[in-house]
Symmetry: C2
DNA sequence: AAACAATAATAACTATACTTACTATTTTAA
DNA sequence: TTAAAATAGTAAGTATAGTTATTATTGTTT
């Protein structure tokens, strides 16, 4: 089997396409937010006051990467960090008003763009694809 | 739809899993090679004397990224660069003896590990997954 | 309580991955 | 044939994505 037809190669190119579709849509809407930053924002809004390790666990990243992502979100004024009272090692993260507004603005665009990520597949095939992906990931 | 069930999120996690499986198998075999470096090596062996832009096109990367990847392959003594006679802008890339030996050593391991990447799926489902991925990518 | 292990975050380091800009060259076109 | 457009590679900058080590703090165990 040639490298180009291997699962790993196909997955890498799908990821490449996925991030490309995301950033294109964001750019078209004049929004400065990466897909990872959106995922982090989503996790922070889902659980206000979550700490960085919690965000990392929620969206399957390591703590070091999430630290950088939250740095950038904080720098943009979208989230705020506070030292946790019950554990001074931890930083509780919450969205700011601006962050919530950004999320509300971006969410419908992100939902819409999902369809483009798997462009070329029928509705049924898109469902199939996601089902298979979820099986693989559950098994991990 | 919640962010975690979106196609983009699933694809990102698959990519994460894929590279993790790759590096785990390489580590187990005591081999220092990333999946991207393997893909580049594969492309260079498939077309000896290919230039860097050719490698980038072959495995769907940008030139800057491939430049760094080939830097590292060269540093490890796996490939060699020469200025092309017909076009002094271009760098022709070829594997060294050591690079060919590395590839011969790694190829069977990489082939074997592909099965692990989609672990949890039946043979039929793995086929289905790859078929759907290829449709999406052809459409891009 | 003191010693120890465990945890949260950060720092430092490596490797992608991409964009824009720049240099050197080559090709195309006026 | 010379000016303009295109191309190959590199540089610089940003953003992941991960590993290992370190610091600060907390929990556990003697």
């Amino acid at each position: 089997m040639h490298a180009k037809s291997m699962a790993g190669h196909l997955i890498r190119r799908l990821q490449q396409r996925s991030t490309h579709v995301f950033s294109k849509h964001m750019q078209a809407a004049g929004i400065d937010l990466t897909s990872v930053q959106f995922a982090a924002l989503d996790a922070i809004i889902a659980e206000p006051g979550i700490d960085q390790a919690g965000v990392a666990a929620a969206i399957a990243y390591d703590r070091a990467t999430i630290g950088g992502v939250i740095d950038r979100l904080e720098h943009k004024g979208l989230v705020a960090r506070t030292v946790a009272k019950h554990d001074r090692r931890a930083r509780e993260v919450r969205v700011t008003e601006q962050g919530q507004a950004m999320f509300d603005n971006v969410l419908p665009i992100v939902r819409e763009l999902q369809d483009d990520v798997l462009d070329g597949l029928s509705v049924d095939e898109k469902h199939q694809f996601k089902r298979l992906a979820q099986i693989v990931l559950q098994n991990a």
